[in-house]
Every structure is written in structure tokens, then in C-alpha cells.
């Protein structure tokens, strides 16, 4: 390998650090109208009167849109494949507002101050409705969030809006209740995970203008340009062929930019005014009025025999999707489908639950996508079971966990909104990951705890995890490679680089196969007019699905070039050797540079371009073992995270440094939700943590040490042996840290975030009961 498996610097890192024009708002047309939204101050209300006459009279105000200005077209903002597994329960603007921050009106004005004045001048009379602010009271609540008749599901997802149910699902293998009765030990516990805000550093933004053909051109902070184009067409009833979506550099996504946001409003404003429009969300809007992770309540029952054989898993989920059902079903299904197969040797497993509407900020996709929630419950419960069995949790896991060559019936049963796809684990280096992680954190020395100073206990805790590599038979990626004169290539991908550096990774795959340095592979993503189809950057699909498309395209390009060279050299293809730079046959030699120049200027002139597509027939899971080493102050409950060890099996790391960056970035987001991140709502339904002062994400001070290693692993079905690695890192911190804290002070926290206060209260109540 000359390019793959090399820790090459990213293609765009240097220019981005030098401050080049690169992100969405950098491309807003000069003189664009400023688009802003009037947002609901109430968690649930009906707009009984809305008067924008005064606002429209203000000089400089070009446009005020209310729900009366839109056709009633229900759609979903989710940004998924079509037909979407999310309910069509959203209108661009509606006469109901369902969370604090929901859009009431859209204004476009000559400048920001005028737009603010216009917003202040819109008179709205609300009829306040009793909000649903606790997901445990949502089901069959007399306050129904979605009474509107037009909303619907695209296919059966358990949609039952009259009872505030966005989606529901159940499945079982074997008879869980019967098997649990035969178990020596059963633990039954309830775990709660909070929502989480993505807090990508670039706020959501979009801008639109009409081009020289009067087509609508949008720049957008999106993970899903193709879906954005489709949703705009559908929701605004505008011809799809007249829309172009350009994704420039994006300042982080993490799932928060999978669903549509500002794009809809700038498109609507540009279409109505015919003028260029721009919108940048304030940080408050990003927090309150984009999306969060789904908060969940998970009831977990595990049954095992005295020898540590796990026999049954019973998992019941209640998920809070907030005001709209983006990703309601699929996130919840991943809580089962990418968690429960970890323990594939059980006799029975049951998974069921409901996703309910509440008057919270809508939940959506977020790295981990349900798996982190399920992992916290399952991997905490496993340690609770081990405590009851008096068994080392590492030994228990090694006895019961998924191994290479094995499968789980869950894969065939559960997909994302549909049936799943049966698959065998062709790569699963979990045994290595566990053993190596135990070495790296010195489990033998630290488990369960050591007193390191007065009132200071050090302990280790662990969790294992799996994720996926795209959605089989649904996620499609395509790649186009174009030969240029002078013998360099363009790689055009719809795969969406949102800062995870997929352009670099995909470029490395193409460059490796074509035998050129990365500098001769010019990677472009994404522009719906010029780059080929790709469902987008989600579901850990890019390296595996889009990467396979790139590899296929590179192979096809190589074959095509060899055929052209053979024709020039007067021989047959099989007589030509090609190392990426030179074609060699007995009849002569030809460099790629010469070939390309001849093909363009001298000999049978033609453009050589190839396009290939890939859709996965399986979704080989990356696996990992995570180990937290914590110091707990037994007087205050404060926790110092001393080290977080990750040993990851993601197959080949196409770029080891970038893969490490994916893992470590995800680990730190996982540490965030574990230890302090929590969107906090007041009793009035307002999000209290709506800026980066009140919503704390990890800073440099909390991250003392991360130890990240990769298992040697080669997934045959992946490009150069790779699986995906974007999400897996986020799954283990909640359970591993919770388990470490239990090992340190005997306090079991089953509700995220795990704050010093909760630990201190646990220590106090344990002391009192003694």
C-alpha cells in the first residue's frame, strides 16, 4: 500500500486553517436579503390570529410569510432515503406551534436590524394548549400534539398520532419470560439517557440565489444534499430539476445537519422575492430550534446462569422524539439492532417500545443514533448482573460476546424501519479489543478499585460496542472519476465531507487503486448538479458504502485506461502492465501523462470518465472495547477521568490518523453526554441550556488522556478491508464511566448525566444505610 493506511494530512486542512472562503455563509451573494424566523415562545399553542401588516410596511422589509402563505403539504425534514421511515408530520409553517422555538413566521429584509424590527412588529395571538413535557405522560395524553388530518406514515411504522405515538415496534426471538424463569440470576433495571445537543461549531446556515438559467442555487450546511433538494421540491412544491444544492465545507454535523433546517426558509424567501437570501442560525436557534438526541427510558432485564452464561435479554424502550418525528422509528430501532446482537448466544431476546411526541425540541439523528442509549442500558446492566454473579465483568463479556464467524438472528429481523439483512461477522476482533484494552488500562491492577490518596479512589470500568457500516440495500453511494490531461484525476462524490475528512479518505482509496499520489486525485463533494448520487453522510456509511463505490470506479478507470493504452501500443489488454504511471508492453511503453494528452489532443480523441455505484448487501459492524479509568473523590463525588482507552476494530484504517480522530472526537462527545451535557427544560417548556455557556461541552481541561488503538482486521467486503468508523467511538463512554464509578465507590448511576451531585448523594445514602 502506498496511499491507503498512510496517515496523510487531509486535503483541505491547510487551506481551512489559513481562513479560505470555504463555508456556507462565505458564499452568500453580496446584498442578500437577511432571512430570520419569528419563533414560538410557547411550548404548545394554536395561532388564532397573526397580523403582519405593520411588519410588511417597514421600509426594507421584502417579505413576511406565515402559515397562510403555504400550501398544506405534510413532509418530514428527516433527510433520509425515500420513502422515509419518518412520519410526514411537518408543514413548512403551521397554525400550531409545538415547541419553544417552532417557526411562526419568516421574514426577509434588507439587513439584520430591519429583519429584527419586522419580527417584533408581527402581532400573534396564541391560544395556549397544555404542553406535554414529560415523555412518560405522553402516551394517550389528552393533549394531542398532532391532530391535523393530513399527516401520514409512508409505510407502517406504528404511527398513532391520536395517542401521541410517532412510531412503535416490537420483536422477539424465543420466549423471554420462560427463559428468564429458568435463570439463576435476573437483574431488572431502568436506565435513562438525556437528550444531547450536537453543538457543531458552525451554526446551521443556508443561502440561495437564482443563477443565469433562473435555477435556484442553494449553499447549505448539510449532510444530505440530495435529500435536501428533494425535500425543498416537495415541501415548497417547486420543480426538483430547478434546484441545485451545493455543500461547501461544513463545520461539523454529527447528525445535526442530516435533517433540513434553514434551507427551507431561504429557498421559500428566494422563490417569493426572486432575490438572493441568506440565513445563519444564532447559537440559541441551533440549540432550541434544530434537533437533539432522543432522550430515552430503557427497561432492561437480563437473566444468566451461575456459571455466567447469559440466557435472555428483555429491552423495553420509551423514546422522546419531541415535537416532530424525524428519525423517531429508526433511532429507536438501532437501540436494539446495533446493541443487542453484542450478546448473540442468548436463548431469547425481546425488544419493544414506543416513540412519543412531546413539546420538546425535535429529536433527530445524532452520532450513535440510538446505539449509545441502548449501550448505556445494556452494558450497565451487564455489570450489575456481574455484581450479582460475583464475576469479573471482562470475563463475563468474553464468555458471552459476539465473535468472528458468528451471527445474531436480530440482523435478519431488524433493519432501519424495515426488515433487516442476515449477516455473519466476517470480522469481529472483540476478543483482541477486550484483552488489549485490559492491558492498556492495567485492569488486573486496577479492577475494581485502588485507593490512591486520602478520599481518592481509582477504578476502571468497561463496555463493548458495535455499530454498522451503512444501511444495507438502502444507502447507495456513487463515484465518478474523470481523467484529465497531464494524467491527473477528478474524483466526484456525492458523499458528504462535513469535517470528518471523507474527501481525503475517499481520495486515498481512489489514489491507491490507480497508483498515483493523493495530490493527483482532486476530490469534489458535493453539488447536486455535478456530483453523482449519494444518500449522504450518515449511518457510518461513507468509508464502507461510498468507499466501495470509489474503489469500483477506480478499478473501472484502470481497466479503461489499460484498454486505451493497449490500442495505442498495438497489443491486447492482457499484455499491458500498468503501475499507475507507465503502461508497459513488449511493443513499447507509454506514460499516463502521454496517454492522457494523446486522448485529449491527438489520438481517437475522447474524454474518459467512469461512474460506479455501490449499495451494501450487509453492514459489517465496527466493534470496540472502551475502558474508563476514573479517580473519584469520596467526599465530594467529583470524578476525574484519568484515561479513556479505546481499542477499535474498524477493519483497515484507510487513514490511521483520521480514523483516530473519528474515534477520539466521538469518545469526547460520549464523555460529554455521560458527565455533563443535558438540554435542560424549565417548567414552562423553555430550553434553559440554549447557549455554549449554559450547555457545557467538553473543553481541553477535562480531556487528560485518550489512548486509542486499532485491532488488525481486514473486512473482505470493504474497500481495502475497511469498515466505517464515524460513530462507534461514541457508544461506550456512558456505560464504561458508570461502571468505573460503581467500581470506585459502589454507587450505581442509571440516569445520564452522571454528575458529582448524583454520586455524592449515592455515597451519602450508602453511608446512612450502613
Amino acid at each position: 500500500m502506498n496511499v491507503v493506511s498512510k496517515p496523510l494530512p487531509s486535503l483541505d486542512g491547510k487551506a481551512l486553517m489559513m481562513g479560505r472562503q470555504a463555508y456556507t455563509d462565505d458564499f452568500a451573494a453580496a446584498g442578500s436579503l437577511i432571512v430570520k424566523a419569528l419563533r414560538s415562545p410557547h411550548p404548545f399553542a394554536k395561532i388564532v390570529q397573526i397580523d403582519a401588516a405593520e411588519a410588511r410596511k417597514i421600509p426594507g422589509v421584502e417579505l413576511v410569510l406565515t402559515f397562510r402563505d403555504f400550501k398544506r403539504i405534510p413532509f418530514t425534514r428527516a433527510g433520509q432515503g425515500y420513502p422515509e421511515p419518518s412520519p410526514h408530520d411537518k408543514f413548512v409553517l403551521d397554525e400550531y406551534v409545538r415547541y419553544v422555538g417552532d417557526e411562526v413566521a419568516i421574514v426577509a429584509a434588507a439587513d439584520a436590524k430591519t429583519a429584527d424590527e419586522a419580527i417584533a412588529a408581527i402581532k400573534v395571538k396564541y391560544e395556549l394548549l397544555p404542553p406535554v413535557l414529560d415523555c412518560e405522560t405522553a402516551y394517550k395524553n389528552p393533549s394531542v400534539l398532532h391532530p391535523e388530518p393530513e399527516i401520514h406514515e409512508m409505510f407502517p411504522i406504528g404511527f398513532d398520532p391520536k395517542n401521541n405515538v410517532a412510531a412503535s415496534y416490537k420483536m422477539n426471538v424465543g420466549d423471554v419470560d420462560a427463559v428468564l424463569k429458568t435463570c439463576d440470576v435476573v437483574v431488572e433495571r431502568t436506565y435513562r439517557t438525556s437528550a444531547q445537543s450536537h453543538a457543531a461549531m458552525e451554526p446551521h446556515a443556508a443561502n440561495a440565489r437564482f443563477d443565469h438559467q433562473n435555477r435556484l442555487v442553494l449553499y447549505a450546511t448539510t449532510q444530505t444534499p440530495v435529500h435536501i433538494r428533494r425535500i425543498i421540491s416537495q415541501a415548497l412544491d417547486y420543480p426538483l430539476a430547478q434546484i441545485r444544492v451545493v455543500k461547501p465545507r461544513v463545520g461539523g454535523g454529527f447528525g445535526g445537519k442530516q435533517a433540513i433546517a434553514a434551507e427551507l426558509f431561504v429557498a421559500a424567501a428566494a422563490i417569493r422575492t426572486g432575490k438572493p437570501c441568506r440565513m445563519v442560525y444564532t447559537r440559541k436557534e441551533v440549540f432550541e430550534a434544530t434537533y437533539t438526541r432522543h432522550a430515552m427510558k430503557i427497561d432492561m432485564r437480563l437473566g444468566a446462569m451461575k456459571d455466567g452464561t447469559l440466557k435472555a435479554i428483555d429491552c423495553q424502550v420509551l423514546s422522546d422524539t419531541g415535537a416532530y418525528g424525524e428519525h423517531a422509528l429508526t433511532v429507536f430501532m438501532v437501540t436494539g439492532s446495533k446493541v443487542l446482537p453484542l450478546y448473540n448466544k442468548v436463548d431469547a431476546v425481546r425488544f419493544a417500545g414506543t416513540v412519543v411526541y412531546t413539546n420538546h425540541t425535535p429529536a433527530g439523528a445524532f452520532r450513535g443514533y440510538g446505539a449509545i442509549q441502548g449501550n448505556f442500558a445494556l452494558e450497565s446492566a451487564v455489570d450489575e448482573l456481574c455484581a450479582a454473579l460475583r464475576m469479573d465483568p471482562a470475563a463475563f463479556r468474553k464468555k458471552n460476546m459476539m465473535r468472528e464467524g458468528e451471527t445474531s438472528p436480530i440482523f435478519a429481523i431488524m433493519g432501519e424501519g424495515t426488515e433487516g439483512t442476515a449477516m455473519t461477522m466476517d470480522t469481529c476482533k472483540l476478543p483482541f479489543c477486550v484483552d488489549r484494552g485490559m492491558e492498556l488500562c492495567d485492569w488486573a491492577h486496577h479492577f475494581p478499585r485502588r485507593i490512591v490518596a486520602k478520599n481518592r479512589v481509582r477504578a476502571v470500568g468497561m463496555a463493548i460496542a458495535m455499530q454498522g457500516s451503512g444501511i444495507p440495500l438502502i444507502d447507495m453511494g456513487a463515484a465518478t472519476i474523470k481523467l484529465n490531461d497531464d494524467g491527473f484525476y477528478n474524483l466526484l462524490v456525492g458523499a458528504t465531507d462535513i469535517g470528518q475528512k471523507s474527501d481525503t479518505v475517499l481520495g486515498q482509496i481512489a489514489a491507491e487503486e490507480l497508483g498515483v499520489p493523493l495530490s493527483r486525485m482532486i476530490v469534489t463533494s458535493s453539488d447536486t448538479d455535478t456530483t453523482p448520487f449519494d444518500t449522504g453522510a450518515y449511518a457510518s456509511s461513507t468509508t464502507y458504502v461510498s468507499g466501495n463505490a470509489v474503489l469500483k470506479a477506480a478499478k473501472k478507470m484502470k481497466e479503461t485506461l489499460v484498454a486505451e493504452a493497449a490500442s495505442i501500443l498495438g497489443t491486447t489488454r492482457d499484455q499491458v502492465a500498468f503501475d499507475g504511471e507507465t503502461f508497459v508492453a513488449e511493443s513499447g511503453r507509454l506514460t499516463l501523462r502521454d496517454l492522457s494528452n494523446r486522448l485529449f489532443y491527438n489520438h481517437g480523441q475522447k474524454q474518459i470518465t467512469v461512474t460506479e455505484s455501490y449499495v451494501g448487501h450487509k453492514s459489517p459492524p465496527p466493534f470496540m472495547a472502551g475502558f474508563a479509568t476514573v479517580d473519584v473523590d469520596t467526599e465530594t463525588g467529583e470524578v476525574d477521568l484519568v484515561d479513556y482507552v479505546s481499542v477499535v476494530d474498524c477493519g483497515t484504517t484507510i487513514n490511521p490518523k483520521l480514523a483516530q480522530g473519528q474515534v477520539e472526537g466521538a469518545i469526547v462527545q460520549g464523555i460529554g453526554i455521560t458527565m455533563f451535557e443535558e438540554p435542560a427544560y424549565g417548567k414552562d417548556g423553555k430550553m434553559a441550556s440554549n447557549d455554549l455557556l449554559t450547555y457545557k461541552i467538553p473543553t481541553r481541561l477535562e480531556i487528560r488522556r485518550l489512548t486509542t488503538e486499532f485491532a488488525v482486521s481486514y473486512e473482505e467486503s470493504g474497500p481495502f478491508g475497511a469498515k466505517s468508523v464515524g460513530e462507534i467511538g461514541i457508544d461506550t463512554p456512558p456505560a464504561a464511566i458508570a461502571n468505573a464509578i460503581y467500581n470506585a465507590v459502589g454507587v450505581r448511576i442509571r440516569e445520564l448525566p452522571i454528575t458529582p451531585e448524583k454520586i455524592w448523594r449515592g455515597i451519602q445514602s450508602a453511608r446512612q444505610s450502613k
Partner: protein
């Protein structure tokens, strides 16, 4: 009101309102590296150097800059490229949105505390949030840049 500011070595005149913030004045002048990440002075994305010191330009009134000297990353291009090389070698750059602000802070650190310890690096940059990297690779990259001879 008119202000006169040295921006990246060039003296420039700006016509600003009393409530204008420096981030908007500079961005309006075509300096794309200067951007907002929040509205509460808590993310560090809008960092620029005023008379050599990192300041959050989202809460720095433009009129305060009158007569002062401002550096954005466009003004330290060759040093930013060096810092970028260190980040690239460590895989420490991801989305890049925060990177110009981090480059400015690191540039100022090298001139203020060239022998900063890891903890001093963390303290110096605590206000520069990054949601992508997990920070550890950035620490290694920054250390390596500080150790690099000019």
C-alpha cells in the same frame, strides 16, 4: 463613525455604528476566517489578535479597535501554514471551522509562552472549543509547533 485600524499590516478606514462588533466589521471586509460560533463569548471561534492579544471579536466593539492593530489568520498566512502542517501530521484538524481561531491563539502562545507545558497549553486555549477532534491530537500538534525552531 469612522475608525482607522491596522488590519494585517494595512491601515484601513471603517465606517461603523456604535453597536457594531468587530467580528461583523472584519467579516464585512471580506475576511472569511473571522466567523461567529456563538453569541455569548463562549466558543472562541471569533478570536482575532488585537495588539497581539487574542480577543473574542463577537463581543469587542468595533470602535474600540480605533487606532489599534489587528491580526486575523489571513495576516499570519505563513505561520498558519506551519501550524496547519503540525495539525495535518497529527490528524488534529477535522471540520476546520475553529482552526483559524486556534491558529491565532497558538501563534500568540508561541510569542508569549514558548515553553508552555501541556497544562499551560490547555489553559491558554480553554476558551477555544472544538467539537470534532477530542483535543488530544491538537495538544500534540500544538506542542510540536511550539518546539519547532523559527
Amino acid at each position: 463613525m469612522k475608525i482607522s485600524v491596522e488590519v494585517n499590516g494595512l491601515r484601513r478606514a471603517f465606517d461603523v455604528e456604535p453597536g457594531d462588533y468587530l467580528v461583523d466589521t472584519l467579516r464585512g471586509a471580506g475576511l472569511f476566517s473571522v466567523r461567529r460560533g456563538c453569541d455569548s463569548t463562549s466558543c472562541g471561534i471569533c478570536t482575532v489578535l488585537v495588539d497581539g492579544r487574542p480577543v473574542p471579536s463577537c463581543s469587542y466593539l468595533s470602535i474600540r479597535a480605533d487606532g489599534r492593530s489587528i491580526l486575523t489568520v489571513e495576516g499570519i498566512a505563513s505561520e498558519a501554514a506551519k501550524i496547519a502542517d503540525r495539525f495535518g501530521a497529527e490528524g488534529a484538524d477535522q471540520c476546520g471551522y475553529c482552526n483559524p481561531s486556534v491558529a491565532l491563539a497558538v501563534y500568540a502562545l508561541k510569542r508569549t509562552k514558548p515553553k508552555a507545558s501541556d497544562d499551560e497549553i490547555r489553559e491558554w486555549l480553554v476558551g477555544n472549543l472544538c467539537r470534532c477532534s477530542g483535543y488530544q491530537s491538537q495538544l500534540a500538534a500544538i506542542r510540536s509547533y511550539l518546539e519547532e525552531r523559527p
